[in-house]
C-alpha cells in the first residue's frame, strides 16, 4: 500500500487514494488543444451536450411510456403529452434533439472531411466516429418506432424487411428479428430494450473510445499544421503562453466551447418551443395500422439520402435484380464513409480550399448528398422538370459511388504525384 499521510484537505485525501491531481492533468488541464481552430471544432462538445439531454429526457419519458402495442400510442400521445406535467417539454426536447443531433453529426463529419482529419495517425478517430454514426442511426430508428404511430409501424416494417435480402436465410432472419410473422408486440418490446438499454450502453462505451482516440494524435487544426505538442506544451507551462501554439483543454479551451454551447442552446430551445413540429411526422399521429400503408413512406430527413440510394436502382442490371443491387448499394452507403482514409491516397493534411481537386470533389459530394436527400422525400413515381424522379435518383446514386470510389482515389493519387498541394 502506498504511504498514506494525514491529509491536508478533501482534494489531498482523494489524491492519496485515487491520484485525482494526476488524472485531472491527463484528462483536462494538460490535455493540449491547438489555438487555431474555429467554431466547427465545437461540434463535438455540442454533440456531447445533446447526448446528455437525450439521456436525461429519455429517463423522464421512460417513466410513463408503455412498450405494448395497445398502450404505446396513448402513453405517448395522451399520457405524456397531455397528463404528465411538462411531459410535452421532455418529449419535444427528446424529439428535436434526436433530429438536430444528426445535423450536428453531419457538420462534424464533413468538417473532418474538409480539413482531412481522418488521415495520418487520426484514422481511429475517424473509424470510431463512423461507428458512432451507425450506432446513432440504430438508436434513432429503434426510438422512432416506439410511439407506434403509422409511420413508426411502416418504418419498422420496411427496415426489418431489409434483412430479407440476406441470401438463403433472409426470410428466417426477418422473422427472428421481429419475433413474429409481422411487426408486432414482440418487435416493439425488443426494440424498446435496444433503444433504452443495450444501444445506449454501447454508445457510451464508443463515445469514450472516440474521445480516447483523440488523446494521443491530438485534434487537427485549421491549417493542417503539424504541431509538436510536447514542445509547445513546454512553452506554455514555462509561462510563454502567447507564443505557445496550444492551450490546455481546461480552462482555456472549454471556455470558448461554453460560449458556443450557449449560442447553440438558444437556437435549440427556440426550435423546441416554436418549431418542434419539424421533428414530428403528421402521419405518426395516427396509430399504427398493419392493414393500411401510408400513401407515401419516407424516413426522417437524416436517412433520406441513404433511402434514396436504396431505391435508386429500379431495374435489373446484367441479371442482378434491382432488389439486390438496391440492398447492396444501401448497405454499402451506410458504411461507405468508413473507408475515407483508404480512398484518399494523398497524405497532405490541409483544408480543402488549399487542395484544388479535393475542394471541388468535396462540394460535389455535399451537393450530391443534398440532391439525394431532396429526392428521397419526393414520391418515387413523380416527375421533376420533365425527368422522372426514379431516374434522378438513379443518377445521383451512381454519382455518389463514383465520387467516392473512383474520383477521390484518382485526384488524390494525382495530388500525391505532384508532391503536395
Amino acid at each position: 500500500m502506498a504511504q498514506i499521510r494525514k491529509s491536508t484537505g478533501i482534494i489531498d485525501w482523494l489524491d492519496q487514494r485515487m491520484a485525482v491531481n494526476k488524472m485531472m492533468k491527463v484528462l483536462v488541464s494538460e490535455y493540449w488543444i491547438p489555438k487555431n481552430i474555429n467554431f466547427l471544432w465545437a461540434m463535438g462538445v455540442i454533440l456531447t451536450t445533446l447526448f446528455v439531454l437525450l439521456l436525461i429526457t429519455g429517463f423522464l419519458l421512460m417513466m410513463y411510456y408503455k412498450p405494448d402495442i395497445n398502450l404505446a400510442f396513448d402513453s405517448v400521445n395522451y399520457t405524456i403529452m397531455k397528463e404528465v406535467e411538462y411531459g410535452w417539454l421532455w418529449r419535444h426536447i427528446h424529439a428535436v434533439a434526436a433530429s438536430v443531433i444528426f445535423l450536428i453529426i453531419y457538420i462534424h463529419t464533413f468538417t473532418a472531411i474538409y480539413y482531412g482529419s481522418y488521415k495520418k495517425g487520426r484514422e481511429l478517430i475517424w473509424v470510431s466516429g463512423m461507428l458512432l454514426f451507425i450506432l446513432f442511426s440504430a438508436e434513432a430508428f429503434s426510438g422512432y418506432m416506439l410511439p407506434w404511430g403509422q409511420m413508426s409501424y411502416w418504418a419498422a416494417m420496411v427496415i426489418t424487411n431489409l434483412f430479407g435480402g440476406i441470401p438463403v436465410i433472409g426470410d428466417a432472419v426477418v422473422e427472428w428479428i421481429r419475433g413474429d410473422y409481422a411487426v408486432s408486440d414482440s418487435t416493439l418490446t425488443r426494440f424498446f430494450m435496444l433503444h433504452v438499454c443495450l444501444l445506449p450502453l454501447v454508445l457510451i462505451a464508443v463515445i469514450a473510445l472516440h474521445f480516447y482516440t483523440l488523446r494521443i494524435p491530438h485534434v487537427n487544426n485549421e491549417t493542417g499544421e503539424e504541431i509538436d505538442f510536447d514542445i509547445e506544451a513546454e512553452k506554455y507551462l514555462k509561462g510563454d503562453k502567447a507564443n505557445a501554439k496550444v492551450i490546455p483543454f481546461w480552462p482555456g479551451f472549454l471556455a470558448k466551447d461554453f460560449m458556443y454551447i450557449g449560442f447553440f442552446m438558444i437556437f435549440f430551445f427556440y426550435l423546441v418551443c416554436f418549431h418542434f413540429n419539424f421533428a414530428m411526422d403528421p402521419i405518426n399521429f395516427e396509430p399504427g395500422n398493419p392493414l393500411k400503408t401510408p400513401p407515401h413512406i419516407y424516413p426522417e430527413w437524416y436517412f433520406l439520402w441513404q433511402y434514396e440510394i436504396l431505391r435508386g436502382f429500379f431495374f435489373d442490371i446484367f441479371g442482378f435484380s434491382a432488389y439486390n443491387i438496391g440492398l447492396i448499394a444501401f448497405a454499402f452507403a451506410g458504411i461507405a464513409l468508413f473507408f475515407m482514409p483508404i480512398y484518399d491516397r494523398s497524405d497532405v493534411v490541409a483544408p480543402a480550399h488549399e487542395r484544388k481537386g479535393f475542394f471541388v470533389w468535396f462540394w460535389l459530394l455535399v451537393i450530391d448528398m443534398i440532391i439525394l436527400t431532396i429526392f428521397g422525400k419526393l414520391p418515387a413515381d413523380g416527375v421533376t422538370m420533365g425527368i422522372s424522379n426514379s431516374w434522378i435518383g438513379f443518377y445521383s446514386t451512381i454519382t455518389f459511388f463514383i465520387l467516392l470510389l473512383v474520383v477521390l482515389p484518382i485526384i488524390t493519387t494525382l495530388e500525391k504525384k505532384r508532391g503536395g498541394k
Binding site: W154, A182, S184, T293, R311, F314, A322, D381
Partner: protein, 167 residues
C-alpha cells in the same frame, strides 16, 4: 519451474474449452429467445365466403396479421392458369398484399388494372406479377383450401399445391 508453467498452460486451455462450450450453448439459447413464441406460431385460420363478390371486385382481408388481396376477375381480365384460383366458374387472384420488395401494401388501381406500391414505385399486374421496379418476384400466394364457395386461409388444399407446383 517449467513444470509449473506447463500446469498454468493446461489450466488456461481447460478454462478456454469450458468457456467455449458455455459460450456456444448460450448463443443457441439467446437465438431461441428471439424466435417467435409458441402462441405466435399457433396463429389461426381465416375463412372467407367468396360467393357475394362481384366481377372485378377487389377485397382486402386479414390473415395472420397480414393483409390479403382477393380480386374476382371479370371478363376483361385474361385468365392465367398459373395464378388464378378457380372456384366454380369464377377466377380469383388471392395474394399476400405485401410488396415482395420491402413489404409495403400496394394499392389496387382499378382504372389502370395494376397494383402500385408507392414506396419504391413497384408495380404488379392483375395477376400479381411484378412488372416494374424493385420487387423481385410476384406477390406471394398464401396457403389456402377451397371449401365449396369458401376460401380457408392457412390450410393447404390440392388447388394450392397445384399453383405452387407450377410456380
Amino acid at each position: 519451474m517449467s513444470v509449473k508453467q506447463e500446469r498454468r498452460n493446461f489450466i488456461g486451455l481447460a478454462f478456454g474449452a469450458v468457456a467455449a462450450v458455455g459460450g456456444a450453448f448460450s448463443l443457441v439459447a439467446v437465438k431461441k429467445t428471439w424466435d417467435p413464441l409458441p402462441s405466435v406460431k399457433a396463429a389461426g385460420f381465416t375463412t372467407v365466403d367468396l360467393s357475394p363478390m362481384k366481377d372485378g371486385e377487389m377485397r382486402q382481408i386479414e390473415w395472420r396479421k397480414k393483409p390479403i388481396f382477393i380480386l374476382k376477375k371479370d371478363a376483361n381480365m385474361a385468365p392465367n392458369d398459373k395464378r388464378d384460383v378457380v372456384v366454380g366458374d369464377s377466377r380469383y387472384i388471392v395474394a399476400i398484399a405485401l410488396c415482395t420488395h420491402l413489404g409495403c401494401i400496394p394499392e389496387w388501381r382499378a382504372s389502370k388494372q395494376v397494383f402500385i406500391c408507392a414506396c419504391h414505385a413497384g408495380e404488379f399486374n392483375v395477376d400479381g406479377i411484378n412488372t416494374f421496379g424493385p420487387p423481385p418476384r410476384p406477390l406471394d400466394i398464401p396457403p389456402f383450401k377451397i371449401d365449396g364457395t369458401k376460401l380457408v386461409l392457412g390450410e393447404t388444399g390440392p388447388e394450392y399445391e397445384k399453383l405452387v407446383a407450377q410456380a
